[in-house]
């Protein structure tokens, strides 16, 4: 029998398509997580009150922020799970090497995150309707911002990038622990160490890390920061897993 030549992209594509069929649980989990997020958003909402001596304003704010945060956690968790042994064994049943395994995982995660971001953004409508139906309010204000289409897309992309950042973090953490179980203990140490490195006299380190992303108001710079982080994280994960033994 003659050897079959292979192209990496071909195998990655096949694995990716296989994963779309195999990992439906990921999307079911997304659904459950987002439904929980929607219900929590309606129940709690962000609220505040404001008072002058004419009247007291009782405010309930609805937004899809919580759904997005939950989707980020979902992405983080799923990325970790995808690095685990049981998922990996599924992969290496058929043709695969570490690189194609990682690349197809990443393409799959990217797809899942795009879907997650899209559904998270779409949940705004549901939240708004349920909010309207459930809360007995005097003033229902839906139009708070005059958002330019461009800004809206920037925001949607930023949402996706946040979810991707969470997924990358999860994937890297997962790969580290797969690579060596002892790295689980090392992880908090690294975080605390990083905390010291980036702390300033005004803020502890982790606040600075959060600020690095969350307080970046320039879309271009945020895009750059997020993409570079994602690339570094994915690259590290690939490097780590390249020495990983499977099955």
């Amino acid at each position: 029998m003659s050897l079959t030549k292979v192209s990496l992209s071909n195998v990655v594509l096949k694995q990716y398509r296989y994963k779309l069929k195999a990992y439906t649980g990921v999307f079911m989990a997304l659904m459950v997580v987002q439904v929980i997020g929607i219900l929590l958003s309606i129940a709690g909402g962000g609220s505040g009150s404001f008072s002058n001596n004419v009247y007291t304003l009782d405010v309930t704010v609805s937004s899809s922020s919580l759904v997005i945060v939950l989707t980020m956690i979902w992405a983080f968790m799923n990325a970790i799970l995808m690095t685990t042994k049981s998922y990996r064994e599924d992969d290496f049943t058929f043709v695969s090497n570490r690189l194609s395994y990682n690349l197809s995982n990443m393409v799959f995660l990217l797809t899942a995150c795009i879907i997650g971001a899209a559904t998270a953004l779409l949940s705004t409508g549901v939240i708004r309707i349920l909010f309207y139906l459930i809360h007995d309010v005097d003033i229902f204000l839906t139009l708070t911002y005059q958002v330019a289409i461009g800004d809206y897309f920037a925001g949607a992309l930023a949402t996706l990038l946040y979810i991707l950042l969470a997924a990358t973090a999860g994937y890297l953490v997962g790969m580290m622990t797969q690579f060596n179980k002892r790295l689980i203990i090392l992880l908090p140490v690294i975080l605390v160490g990083l905390n010291y490195v980036v702390q300033s006299n005004a803020n502890p380190g982790f606040v600075n890390i959060l600020k690095f992303y969350f307080m970046e108001y320039s879309f271009t710079v945020f895009l750059l920061k997020a993409i570079v982080t994602i690339l570094i994280g994915s690259g590290l994960a690939i490097l780590l897993s390249n020495r990983l033994e499977v099955r």
Binding site: M1, F94, N97, R247
Partner: protein
């Protein structure tokens, strides 16, 4: 052409050498039986060959390539064991369709035919199958993939005798139809020795023997007779295994590299050793075997 070449291959876990400087090669289009006791390093060796595990030392070449993390090796080989896992979202038939996408030589007709022959409900999920059925399904995947290198690691786990027989028959027929390099690891040599071409016997991570089955069968003979007489002629012979039958008679397994006539003339019975017995004798860690344990406990 040599499909697999190992030279001084070492695989270490902590301080244990699962493979200990093993050197051998496997020719193209042969069926090799990888024989050894539990923990002899069979699975480790196969996983290194399949590219799942990385060798610690030495050289391993599959299709003249280093197998670890090699996509081409992965594409041209399939590793079948009872731990094979398939996604639970796809039923058996769908899994076969997916597998077809991965393997260019995939024989869909064979896969479907075997699925039907072994009475599988194609709408079931792999996880819901019994152990034996699962092994059978894995075997179907392994055969239908028609990979130039097909590795079966203990493929018959859980199969009943009839299915095992069918499996060996199917394997042989498929091999005749599309010759390829097949490695089967097992500790049930007697069941499959007929379809094998070569036997690779490993023990404690080392190669003990690699021979064609026929030569393996003639590798050793049992000499049995009066202990005094048998002992007399053992001088120039390689003793593999010794067993006392009773006080004054014994049977000894020796290398078959002498003329039987002279021995027979002394009234010693010369009989062949079955390959599976020979494997046991060759890989006995404690010389003497299980009997000694009982003898010792009696003497205490």
């Amino acid at each position: 052409m040599k499909v697999i070449e190992c030279e001084g291959l070492v695989k270490t876990y902590g301080s244990i050498n699962a493979l200990d400087r093993i050197t051998f090669s496997i020719e193209e289009n042969t069926i090799t039986g990888l024989i050894g006791r539990n923990g002899a390093g069979k699975t480790t060796l196969l996983k290194v060959i399949a590219g799942f595990w990385r060798e610690t030392e030495g050289r391993v070449k599959v299709f003249e390539r280093s197998p670890f993390n090699n996509l081409e090796v992965s594409m041209n080989s399939i590793f079948v064991d009872d731990m094979m896992s398939f996604t639970y979202t796809l039923n058996l038939k769908e899994v076969l369709t997916e597998a077809q996408a991965f393997y260019p030589n995939w024989d869909a007709k064979l896969a479907e035919g075997l699925l039907e022959y072994f009475n599988f409900n194609p709408r079931l999920v792999h996880q819901s199958l019994s152990k034996g059925k699962r092994s059978t399904f894995n075997m179907i995947v392994g055969l239908a993939a028609k990979c130039p290198l097909t590795i079966f690691d203990e493929p018959t786990t859980g199969m009943d005798a009839a299915v095992r027989k069918d499996f060996y028959r199917a394997l042989l027929k498929d091999y005749l139809f599309s010759p390829r390099t097949i490695i089967i690891s097992s500790h049930h040599l007697d069941e499959m020795e007929d379809i094998l071409e070569d036997i690779l016997l490993v023990d404690e991570g080392k190669k003990v023997l690699q021979l064609p089955v026929d030569e393996f069968k003639e590798y050793a003979v049992t000499l049995s007779g009066k202990t005094a007489i048998v002992m007399q002629i053992l001088e120039d012979k390689d003793v593999i295994y010794k067993r006392n039958i009773d006080l004054d008679s014994c049977s000894v397994v020796v290398r078959n590299n002498f003329s039987h006539e002279s021995v027979k003339r002394l009234g010693i019975n010369v009989s062949p050793v079955t390959p599976s017995d020979l494997c046991v004798y060759l890989t006995n860690q404690a010389k003497g075997g299980i009997d000694d344990v009982f003898n010792q406990s009696k003497s205490v």
